[in-house]
């Protein structure tokens, strides 16, 4: 046991496992119902990260917005900057699912990708 030991909530999926973090030189995670929880717990102990799901404007598509997300999680503290960079952006259909919309968003070395195909519809 060390003072830093704590309980956090895994947010990777709706199960919301309550993880116990045993923090020393190594971080031991307990209480996860799947292996994604181990990775989450380790990150949460030192540098919390979150995924950013949002939308950007899109032209000539079924909807005026294209859902996009960060390919991996970005530092929680950087989310405002990420949003700022996406706000002015406008892409044009067609777009393919998984296509990179912004590279290295807000200097996080994480890309923003499209969540779905969006065909051209004029």
């Amino acid at each position: 046991m060390s003072d830093e030991d704590r309980e956090v909530l895994c947010v990777r999926c709706p199960k919301g496992c309550r993880l116990k973090l045993f923090i020393d030189e190594n971080i031991v995670v307990k209480g996860q119902e799947c292996k994604l929880g181990v990775d989450y717990g380790k990150k949460e102990a030192r540098h919390p990260e979150r995924e950013v799901p949002t939308t950007v404007k899109i032209k000539n598509a079924r909807w005026p917005r294209l859902p996009v997300r960060s390919k991996k999680s970005v530092p929680l503290a950087k989310i405002d900057e990420v949003m700022e960079e996406l706000r002015g952006l406008k892409v044009e259909a067609p777009v393919k699912k998984g296509e990179v919309i912004v590279q290295n968003v807000a200097d996080t070395s994480v890309d923003i990708i499209a969540e779905r195909d969006m065909e051209r519809e004029v």
Binding site: V11, C13, P14, G31, E51, R65, R69, L76, K97
Partner: protein, 413 residues
Amino acid sequence: MKDVVVIGGGPSGLAAAPEIGKKGYDVTILERNGELGGLLQQCIHEGFGTLLFDKSLSGPEFADIFINRVHDTGVKVELETYVKSVEKREDGFEMTAVTPKGVEIIKTRSLVYAIGCRERNRFEIKIGGTRPAGVLTAGTVQRLVNLYGVLPGKNPIIVGGGDVGLIVARHLYLEGVESILMVYPEEFFSGLPRNAQQCILDFDIPYRPRTTVKRILGDKKVEAVELVKVDENWDMIQGTEEIYRCDSVILSVGLVPYSEKVEELGAEIDCKTNGPVVDEFFETTVEGVFSVGNLVQIFDYVDDAVQTSFVAAQGVDKYLKGFSSKRDKPVKLKPGKNVGTVTPQVIAHDADDDIKIFFRPGIEKEGARIELTSGKEVLKHQKKRYVRPSTLEEMELPRDILSKKKEVMVDVR
């Protein structure tokens, strides 16, 4: 005459159709919207698929996997097709659908309802006051923001701490509204703890527990609300009223299965789940009519919702083959004192596979013991580290323990 019509092209319909199609039947999905995916197309956040695919996908990404399966198995899809009514005939079912070509009659031997749920509105929770513009349900706001890029206002108040409200709060925060307040009558957020964490607490969005909206104020547009504190019975505490200025009211006050349609067809409805009573193959009390996904009960987790579709596919196959494994008398499954809902509600077949049941605990408890009992006899028990009402639980029910039983109770102690 078709073999199977699946009504609804959300995740549960999309999962059911190819599974049935693979067995060689002629299957058609009828979807009222212009594209497949149901609710998932507006659920742009991640967290879907962790159980089925070991990956955390967004709603559209999850939907895409099943849309591809639909196309690969040759399932027919009719979009912009709204099923208005269904009638039982001697040899199957006859439905009236509004399609882009006009009103059409479609005949089928069996039916799978996958029409999901709807949101509760202000009148169901009795909020008084005027009826100005700017009062919306959270799902509508989610749709507006994520598909159209339209915000409901600059200073919204969100009523109810359910999942849809929590997720919408984050979208609005990220989209840059000036202020947000969330109020809810419970002591804690009623949505999943994960959503409370990553949508509200992560961004320090203000929230007030044990608070509700008494009245909405405003002539043409929302100008303010009257907030009031409530006690643990949710009764308003006189003298705690307070005016809060806002320009829109977003209601996140729960989802209810969209069961009117199956009820019209004569299916029995469970007053606990508000969905149709189903057996272990998700057949309703009307033979040949199956029901899957959020129509059966509200699943917080789409991975669970689509599991109902896989099981229902086996049931449809049995039905169409005319292969009856039904017991003389079905076993009833009932929720105990500390359990809110249980599905399936009846076990109707004799077979040798195990049954998966879903139940929603009525209480929060550490070190819970889950018990299946028949009268005084404990048929099965299982330990669970932690249960709470916001998390639906599942459990294997071995069929052999049911022999000669009439009623089995599921409870948490």
